[in-house]
Amino acid sequence: MVSLPETLHQLTAVLGELPGIGPRTAERLALFLVQAPPELTQRLASALLAARERIQTCRVCGALTESQPCALCTDARRDGTTLCVVERPVDLLLIEKSGSFRGRYHVLGGKLSPLNGIEPEDLRIRELEERLGPEGVREVVLALPTDVEGDATCHYLARRLAPRGVRVTRLAHGLPVGGGLEFADELTLSRALAGRQPVA
């Protein structure tokens, strides 16, 4: 049996380490790359190196940035009294896309997960606490996932931040906007019922 040349084999192995890429896809990508025009691989390689070199996490909020601190943290038009806590940098982008939040952000970098050995010390919670006083934060909005670990992290943060005198809120659970009731599962529906609001 003829196997792949060694360099091609190594490339496949590296690609296979990427998230969402199985052995077949890795092989297909590798075969494509070695047969693609050389300038494509050049561009890919330099883009990879440049991005890896320049992208860092903002030391204030934890978002991905090229400058320290990031553009969001230095933007004077943002409302510093409200701080939105998210799990991952990508969540921040999602909320930004909605265009309805004008405060600042804080990326936790994960959620409590005893099964994966993620404890409070592994999250950027101390950094969060250190921002509260100096930045004059009055409200912390928790925008964490609604799975068990996300909800437990919310409870944890609410408890830990309580003595700090800030208001801790979390995003509402409810129905997706623009859809019928049939699109919500029962758990969502029951939470939406529990969180019902008077019609103004």
């Binding site: 099964l115 670990e149 437990a152 992290t153 409870h155 944890y156 408890r159 029962e186 758990l187």
Partner: protein, 364 residues
């Protein structure tokens, strides 16, 4: 509700099978190890996505094949087309040609109740068996129960992992405790509502089969007496010592009492067997009452275990399933199939992974 068409590819000892079934009784006849139970297993798999033999996907793949396929057409209010493929590297489940994203949307497409020899463990076995029975029934009755149960189990596993740490962070523990309590209370509420109804149905079914004077009663004995959060709080020290969550629905018991005495200790073997069947009949009756249509009944060799009079007690249930255009699949080895069911019966010959309809007999 009935299974109108079953298609198997490389499932157990079936290389290919395509069979059409009408409503009513189907008797699967054949010697040992010919594939009778495998058919029931396939139908049950479509209903619950698990094997009633308690095995994983790999064991259901035909020897030497890459994966198995089980497909079906189910007639209830409408027609549903189900296709399930499993292999060690790929699996897919589609309902009416669309991939199923949430189990809660799928479960209920086909509802089945299986009667098999392992049911005896419901009476004799550990409490976990009975909890699984309750959980399965509640999932069949209200698919949303499954999401709550999954949340509970996630919270439980996380909490146990925290308790295993040398010095558990009390605030983190409190975070997961809140989740455990919220999901746990909902589970206990649903179990508490179900058990009295199930108890009444089991008593009726038992009386019908056994013609005995004994009274059956099911008693829900949750490990939480009144207030989950407070009781956890009181157990905190013991939990830290044992490094385990000591209270909650995962420790619940469903007590089976025969004349107010625990059946596991005091019932005879025959009574236990009858109880196990009564349990399953109660499950079928409960689902019929709830949805207005009977589930598909799968009887794996249980008739052989019952004497003639007890067998006769089971017949009304089967009759009723028949009248409500339900469907019953029953396996029997040739010698001992129940003559009481002679009429209106579709007989099938199962031999080495093939299924062949047999002509109606003249005895009925």
């Amino acid at each position: 509700m009935h299974l109108a068409h079953l298609r198997l590819r490389d499932f157990r000892n079936y290389a290919r099978l395509d069979a059409d079934f009408g409503p009513g009784f189907h008797l699967l006849l054949g010697g040992n190890a010919q594939g009778k139970t495998n058919l029931l297993e396939a139908i049950y798999l479509l209903a619950t996505l698990r094997s009633f033999r308690g095995v994983g996907g790999a064991q259901m793949v035909r020897h030497g094949a890459a994966g198995y396929f089980v497909g079906a057409r189910v007639l209830a209010a409408g027609t549903s087309d189900i296709r399930l493929y499993w292999s060690p590297t790929a699996r897919s489940l589609t309902l009416n040609q669309r991939p199923v994203r949430r189990l809660t949307e799928y479960l209920g497409t086909l509802r089945a109740v299986v009667f098999c020899t392992e049911d005896l463990q419901l009476v004799k076995g550990p409490a976990a068996r009975r909890r699984r029975f309750l959980d399965l029934l509640l999932t069949q009755a209200h698919p949303g129960y499954l999401s709550v149960l999954q949340r509970y189990l996630q919270a439980l596993r996380a909490r146990n992992a925290l308790l295993k740490a040398r010095t558990p962070d009390p605030a983190a523990l409190a975070g997961f405790t809140a989740e455990l309590v919220a999901a746990g209370n909902e589970i206990m509420r649903q179990r508490r509502e179900l058990v009295p109804r199930l108890s009444a149905l089991t008593r009726l079914a038992y009386r019908r089969i056994a013609h005995d004077a004994e009274e059956v009663r099911l008693d829900y004995a949750p490990s939480v007496k009144a207030h989950f959060a407070e009781e956890l709080n009181r157990a905190a020290e013991r939990e830290r010592a044992l490094r385990l969550t000591l209270l909650g629905p995962h420790r619940d018991e469903l007590r089976i009492l025969l004349d107010e005495r625990p059946a596991a200790q005091f019932a005879s073997e025959g009574q236990k067997r009858t109880l196990a069947i009564a349990f399953k009949m109660a499950q079928a009756e409960y689902l019929t009452g709830l949805h207005g249509i009977p589930p598909v009944l799968l009887l794996d060799d249980v008739m052989g275990e019952l004497d003639a009079s007890r067998r006769a007690g089971l017949l009304p249930l089967l009759e009723r399933a028949h009248h409500a255009s339900g469907q019953v699949f029953m396996t029997c080895t040739e010698e001992q199939w129940p003559a009481e069911l002679g009429r209106r019966l579709q007989r099938w010959q199962v031999r080495a992974g093939t299924l062949r309809p047999l002509p109606a007999t003249s005895e009925g």
